[in-house]
Subunit: 149 residues, 2 copies
DNA sequence: CTTCGTGCAAAGTGTTTGCAAGATT
DNA sequence: AATCTTGCAAACACTTTGCACGAAG
């Protein structure tokens, strides 16, 4: 999320691609950077962001690249409410998403908060929760107090 | 989930429709019953189930009816992984979904298990989790132990 | 008989695929 | 030069909309 992280991920990209005989292209760098910059973004939002820098990039490339970046372990996606999935940088800063059904806002919380519950699930049901993929729906604080937008 | 519940919901349907000047139709009864029977189902699965009884029902009607039943508070939907949402009966037996990323299986747990965590979120972040809408992704017990399918 | 609901067809989203032209190594 | 990537267009899957006919109250 900081410049430092971005540099780390950008260089990982070059290495990960090379080590698999894949190629480093401007599009791939731009898509990764867009995901890092946006924090949470749908393929379409990534597309828009990338286009601001390189107008000709096709949405197809966005989809293919997001899929690739996910295989490389650089990004992950979650399914927030309806419609398109949203992508975000993977690894370091895992987080649980809090999605407000009213205003559509997305908040994040430290995954450690859900750890006790996750551990309980593992112990009781043998189910290992993927904490980086959790999205909880509900109503955020602002909307809860008549700040209805 | 039992016959008793079904009866309750079926009669609720008639009342809720009447009280709003809407009409009770065979399609609406069939869709509701399918959701109750199936437990978790995508619009397409509901369609298939309904067709077994009434062949001519159109998928459009399934969509419209599911939306209606949701407005009436009789069913809810969740977004499990990618693709179509899945619907299930609302109210009484709320539950949290455990979705296995490996085998695709859906398990349910008592929402009380997540209550402490939900309460914590409300206290700390003012976010009120909609427990009936929670889906957690991960790996289920069977898949966790080499029962890889 | 009035108003609501359904089926059908068509239009909309969002996503994937096939293929030739273009870029990277 | 070899092969991976991209853009484009078309195909897809899922969902929504418009409208006339049919059904419920």
């Amino acid at each position: 999320m900081t410049n430092y992280d971005r540099t780390v991920s950008e260089s990982s990209l070059a290495e990960m691609l090379r080590s698999r005989g894949l190629r480093l292209t401007a599009q791939r760098q731009l898509v990764l950077q867009a995901v890092l910059d946006l924090g949470h973004a749908t393929p379409e939002q990534v597309h828009t962001a990338v286009r601001e820098v390189a107008a000709g990039v096709n949405i197809t490339t966005i989809y293919r690249t997001l899929e690739l970046l996910e295989r490389l372990g650089l990004v992950t996606h979650t399914h927030l409410s309806h419609g398109s999935p949203t992508y975000h940088a993977a690894g370091e800063h895992q987080h649980v998403h809090l999605v407000c059904r009213n205003c559509g806002g997305i908040d994040e919380i430290d995954p450690e908060l859900i750890r006790p519950f996750a551990d309980q699930l593992l112990a009781q049901r043998g189910f290992r929760v993927d904490i980086g993929h959790v999205s909880l729906f509900g109503v955020c604080g602002s909307c809860e107090n008549g700040d209805q937008e």
